[in-house]
Symmetry: C2
Subunit: 349 residues, 2 copies
């Protein structure tokens, strides 16, 4: 039965899902009736979860009670008979599963909290959606624990998360360059740079679909980026990031979700990373937590939600990947296609 559901979801959505993914969704449904939280904790792409819930309703396994999605008696019995167990997280309540603590950067965190209050709103047009201030600082802390902060030349490709500001506030990198296509973000960061006298920070308007200029190619020790998760989008951000690195032993930080990217596409991305001559040194799930964005109701994920409820808390999360360059890695710098924002697995378009 769950194999058939998986098969039908795959046929309908073109997203490769397996019986295990149906199991994951049922497992969360046993303890949680909120659509957004089912998406978060099942780690299954949103369009697949939505299709799965509709099919499970047709089979009489789930029902809608107002804004909640609940297992019916039949659904409970059948899930139990299949040996499916309620979802449990044992996540550390101190670091939130991020592995690091912010304590040593508390001053920077407090200052950043104030600065970010007036940040530009996330724009649909550029697939923006920013992480919590805590996540931004946690990235900086994690980078420091890997030796990727102090005296390093760091570039941030697309910075609605304001990582560039946080990096600069520590005063520790040799220099920080932020490139973005969005003038509002560049203006905001320029203003902060002046107010806080962040001389090590530089801000430039760059369209990542165009090849990088010589002043950026091969000039950095570390890059940060939170790519759009189509394959084309991932390539745009990650390839450009890799192309900015100086040589072997340089690092890249990238976010990747399960919400917009199936495990099969995760593997394609991992293959691409390895074939580009990099190694993956860390993958920490749910490291990045995003604040819900204002264009929420215009996106495909809202349309797909069968009960149309608003999320109560953070539901959109991504894994932190740390990559490192090895001998012979490739700096790829060709023009990219116009539309990098949409494929069948994406739900925030």
């Amino acid at each position: 039965m769950i194999k058939r559901i998986a098969f039908e979801v795959k046929r309908e959505t073109k997203i490769p899902v397996f019986a295990r993914d149906v199991e994951r969704v049922l497992s969360v449904l046993m303890v949680n009736g909120d659509f957004w939280e089912i998406v978060r904790y099942s780690m299954v792409p949103l369009p697949a979860v939505a299709a799965m819930i509709k099919l499970l309703k047709e089979e009489g396994w789930v029902d809608y009670e107002g804004e909640r999605i609940v297992l019916t008696e039949k659904g409970k019995k059948e899930s139990g008979a299949l040996g499916i167990s309620p979802y449990r997280s044992h996540k550390c309540d101190k670091c939130g599963g991020k592995t690091v603590l912010l304590d040593d950067f508390n001053d920077v965190y407090q200052e950043f909290l104030k600065i970010q209050e007036k940040r530009p709103a996330a724009l649909h047009r550029y697939d923006q959606g920013y992480v919590t201030p805590e996540t931004t600082i946690a990235r900086v802390v994690f980078a420091d624990s890997r030796g990727d902060l102090r005296n390093k030349e760091i570039i941030v490709l697309g910075d609605d998360d304001l990582v560039g500001i946080a990096l600069a506030l520590t005063g520790m990198p040799k220099r920080v360059v932020v490139i973005d296509i969005d003038k509002r973000i560049l203006d905001f960061e320029r203003k902060i740079k002046e107010e806080k006298k962040l001389d090590l920070l530089d801000v430039k308007r760059v369209d990542l679909r165009e090849p990088l200029s010589d002043e950026l190619l091969g000039k950095f020790d570390v890059f940060f980026t939170d790519p759009t998760e189509t394959l084309a989008g991932f390539r745009a951000f990650a390839c450009r990031g890799v192309a900015t690195l100086k040589g072997p032993g340089c690092a890249g930080y990238v976010g990747l979700t399960h919400i917009e990217t199936s495990l099969t596409k995760w593997r394609e991305i991992q293959r691409f990373i390895v074939e580009t001559g990099l190694v993956i040194t860390d993958i920490i799930n749910e490291f990045n937590e995003y604040i819900n964005w204002p264009y929420f109701k215009d996106m495909r994920g809202w349309e797909l939600n069968p009960v149309k409820n608003m999320p109560k808390g953070i539901w959109y999360v991504s894994a932190l990947y740390r990559l490192e360059t090895l001998e012979g890695f490739q700096r790829w710098n060709e023009p990219l296609p116009e539309d990098i924002y949409e494929d069948e697995e994406s739900s925030t378009v």
Copy 2:
């Protein structure tokens, strides 16, 4: 200068190291003079660290003060001029960077602590060396958070860590099969099985160099293994593990160090994982912490230690990898070569 050191270390040890690795070692040397801890925190293979320290001594950058390895004034000045900063960890002090807490499994942990007191000593012959009891339970907890414990059929390939016992003590899997070549471990686990009436636990003597029998092939949802870290050894354990899995959506847990495996070899292993049709879902560094083993002074790592001090605490750690099978993954079950335990990067042989 550090490029030249890296080049010479590479020529001498055949281990691919880069200037960044010399930087990592110098960074730890700024705060720590213990050989074993330099190895742990630098995340550079032990033989490369040893060769590097000898070269740095020849250059007058480091000196030996009894059992400690210290930066000389010249070493401090040169490191500072290169912009190298002291190593900092910001690791969470509650979960130890493992991301999960053991609280929900505290009863199992307490019982396991008692049981493991009389475990067999680690044997050089089989490249044994077991993790702390806390690590064993943390693996079980982590697996539960990924839905890989309850009602699952689980196999453990090589079990000096006693993961099979811990899994069985939870009473949650459908069944647990432990295979090992070491009769002492099998006898120990059989005794515990009887004493504690762990009916779900089965224990079998298997030499992983031989192809797996039909009763093990394709019969499990989850495997655990802590492979010997030569490429041949990794293949022996990981391939056999993968071959026991039922289909897509099954999981494997594998440990991998930086102590015996360079990032270049990490990448080879990642390439192999991806090409076998699996995806890497998690990489958590320093998750696995090992108790020092009795044959410590017979191994290559001891011989390479320039100051021959005993480790004071835990120094041998490894990253936890979680792998998941996708459509079309390969079950490889050929005979393996006799010697899987040694290559140029290994230090525990």
